[in-house]
């Protein structure tokens, strides 16, 4: 059980003007699963490599349980990293790969043998000890890599994109395994991912990083339900954004006026967000407007409609059988569930975008136009 503290952690690579990791302050709880989430190139893997000791920070500090570990060599840190492509030593068989860390620590052969077996059991790999890594599937390689890291009883386990190289069905299996092993052993685990869903499913808390800067550090629900700003809302899969003005109770937009009890701001220029699942089709009354169905997609478990509200395009999810209820071009009444509306400030977009170019691209790429 180790608490990991990053303070003011910064990494500037030689020949680059902008820092790759920019003054990150983060307290990672002991015994928890924490995700470092962000788009590719945001500095999350760099952060992880600094924790592992494979990269030296330009400035700032990393502490395990309150003690700085910057001067400690990677092999003595107790933070073991599992790389994205597993990096199993190709000339060693499975047993030798898993036992590598113990061999380096001078553990006896007989003890190593027992613990290797234990670890292979833990990651649910049958006794295929003598095979070479090249004879294993991707999922099995991932298990071996995990066993190889866990056998040295690390105080911090670092996983770099643990699921990204796996097929969809293996992903679920591996996710379960990581979750189970982590709970069983209670190792402080940090993993890097670019997939917000993966982060939400796996992590206790998510540290969101854009352009080397920590944006937020919160529970998965908070990011999906109450995103702090437009950029975060978009990153977490938000698609419906309607600009307007918020007076503290209602948001007035060019489409109509909606009751909105939940908001990230007190009042002012704002953007209404709502998940496609919370948009009711064919229901009138309060908080409803009329739109035109542009197109639809039938996805088996749900049907998705693209609806034009007087120039602003939104998406709505509905039960799959309702696909026969509407035809493209139909006028339809659309109701926003007031309890599901979340209002965020529109003015904080330019502020967060700052010097970076990423958010400029983001705002240009999506459908709604801002006044």
């Amino acid at each position: 059980m180790t608490k990991v503290t990053l303070s003011n952690l910064t990494k500037v690579f030689e020949g680059k003007a902008d820092p790759s990791v920019d003054q990150i302050d983060l307290e990672i709880e002991s015994g928890k699963l924490t995700a470092l989430l962000g788009p590719s190139g945001c500095g999350k893997t760099t952060t992880m490599r600094m924790i592992a000791g494979l990269l030296r920070p330009t400035s700032g500090d990393i502490q395990f349980d309150g003690k700085s570990i910057l001067h400690i060599a990677p092999e003595h840190r107790g933070a073991v990293m599992v790389f994205q492509n597993y990096l199993l030593f190709p000339f060693m068989n499975i047993r030798e790969n898993v036992g590598f860390g113990l061999k380096m620590r001078g553990v006896s052969k007989s003890e190593t043998q027992g613990r290797v077996r234990e670890m292979l059991d833990l990651v649910q790999l049958p006794d295929h000890d003598d095979r070479l890594p090249s004879q294993l599937s991707g999922g099995q390689q991932q298990r071996v890599a995990l066993a190889r890291a866990l056998i040295v009883q690390p105080s911090v386990l670092l996983l770099d994109e643990p699921l990204s190289n796996l097929d969809a069905h293996l992903r679920d299996e591996m996710r379960e395994l990581i979750r189970r092993v982590q709970t069983e052993l209670g190792i402080t685990t940090i993993f890097v991912t670019h997939d917000q869903e993966e982060a939400a499913v796996l992590a206790d808390r998510i540290a969101l990083i854009f352009r080397g800067k920590l944006q937020a550090y919160d529970s998965p629900e908070a990011y999906f339900e109450r995103p702090a700003n437009l950029e975060i809302a978009r990153f977490f899969g938000g698609v419906n954004f309607i600009p307007g003005h918020y007076d503290g109770e209602r948001i007035n937009t060019q489409v109509g006026s909606f009751a909105a009890p939940h908001a990230a701001i007190a009042n002012g220029d704002a953007v209404l967000t709502i998940r496609p699942e919370a948009v009711d089709l064919g229901v009138g009354g309060d908080n409803s407007v009329v739109g035109t169905i542009r197109s639809h997609v039938y996805a088996g478990r749900y049907a998705r409609f693209v609806i034009d509200l007087d120039g602003i395009v939104i998406e709505a999810s509905a039960d799959p059988w309702r696909v026969s209820e509407f035809a493209d071009g139909d006028k339809v009444s659309v109701r926003f569930d007031a309890s599901q509306i979340w209002v965020i400030g529109s003015s904080d977009l330019p502020r967060t975008s700052g010097a970076g170019t990423g958010s400029a691209e983001l705002s240009g790429a999506t459908s709604p136009q801002f006044p």
Binding site: H76, V80, Y86, P90, F100, A149
Partner: protein, 290 residues
């Protein structure tokens, strides 16, 4: 000649899988290539073996008319220095190989793994000894070697052999490291290996096939070097090629033949011992992830 041309075609441009493609398309060509290769490499050895046992072998006899062990007795006799020359050749070749590894592996790593300013220039300088006539370089070095007391010594000869040997080692190793993923070393460190243990348990096994090939090259280059040995050794350092050349020039075909056989044996031995690594080529650790 046509057989040789065929061979060149087979292993030349398509070095990804020359055998497989020819095998698939035209087995006749494949066999022609193998026969041609054997004829080219092995056939010249056959007369040498006969010569070493021949007492009388006159035109137009296909085989010697009389045999004797005279040449082999002469080779074994201490007065002819064959043992000393074999010893000298071995010591020099081993020293050259060790020095080439010590210099060539780090150099190859730098070239294969890293990008740095002036890399092209360094690459050019490394192959320069192969391009520039060795004799020209050696003549210049000779004066330096005399000044520093390196001429006429085993060490001096070993050092000068590095001129043709080192480029091969460096080029082979830079090829190996170009396909090498240094992240394996990070992984080993993270799992608890010290830098030294990482080199021994992870880097060395990964580069071993290429290392063996490079060492084989350098050993054989040094083993068969004549001009540089003569120049820097000043005739004081007698190696097998020097001895062989003397007998060949003096017209004693029998002794020259016997010496040639002695000369070839170590090379063939080394080749047989390392053939396993030659066939696996540069199987370094690259892209083994998925």
């Amino acid at each position: 000649m046509s057989l040789n041309a065929q061979f060149a075609f087979d292993v030349g441009p398509d070095h990804t899988s020359p055998v497989a493609t020819t095998k698939g398309r035209r087995p006749v060509l494949r066999w022609a290539a193998i026969v041609g290769l054997l004829a080219f490499l092995v056939a010249p050895m056959i007369p040498l073996i006969f010569w070493s046992f021949a007492f009388r072998w006159n035109y137009p006899d296909l085989l010697p008319s009389e045999y004797s062990l005279r040449a082999w007795k002469a080779v074994a006799s201490p007065t002819n220095n064959v043992l000393l020359a074999t010893w000298n050749s071995s010591v020099i070749a081993v020293v050259v190989t060790v020095l080439s590894i010590a210099i060539g592996v780090p150099a190859g790593r730098a070239l294969g793994l890293h990008k740095f300013r002036g890399k092209r220039l360094v690459e050019l300088l490394i192959v320069a000894p192969i391009i520039v006539p060795t004799l020209a370089v050696a003549l210049g070095m000779h004066t330096l070697f005399i000044r520093y007391g390196l001429s006429n010594s085993l060490l001096g000869v070993s050092v000068v052999h590095l001129i043709p040997a080192l480029p091969y080692m460096t080029l082979v190793m830079s090829g190996v490291f170009a396909n090498y993923d240094a992240a394996f070393e990070s992984q080993a460190r993270s799992l608890g290996a010290s830098p030294l243990k990482t080199q021994w348990y992870v880097t060395f096994p990964a580069i071993r096939p290429g290392l063996v090939v490079g060492a084989l090259f350098t050993f054989l280059i040094s083993w068969s070097e004549y001009v540089l040995t003569l120049l820097i050794g000043g005739g004081q350092v007698v190696t097998l090629p020097l001895l062989l050349f003397n007998f060949a020039r003096s017209g004693d075909n029998a002794i020259a033949g016997a010496l040639a056989v002695v000369f070839v044996v170590p090379g063939v031995l080394v080749l047989l011992l390392t053939s396993k690594h030659l066939s696996t080529g540069h199987a370094a650790m690259g892209g083994t992830g998925t």
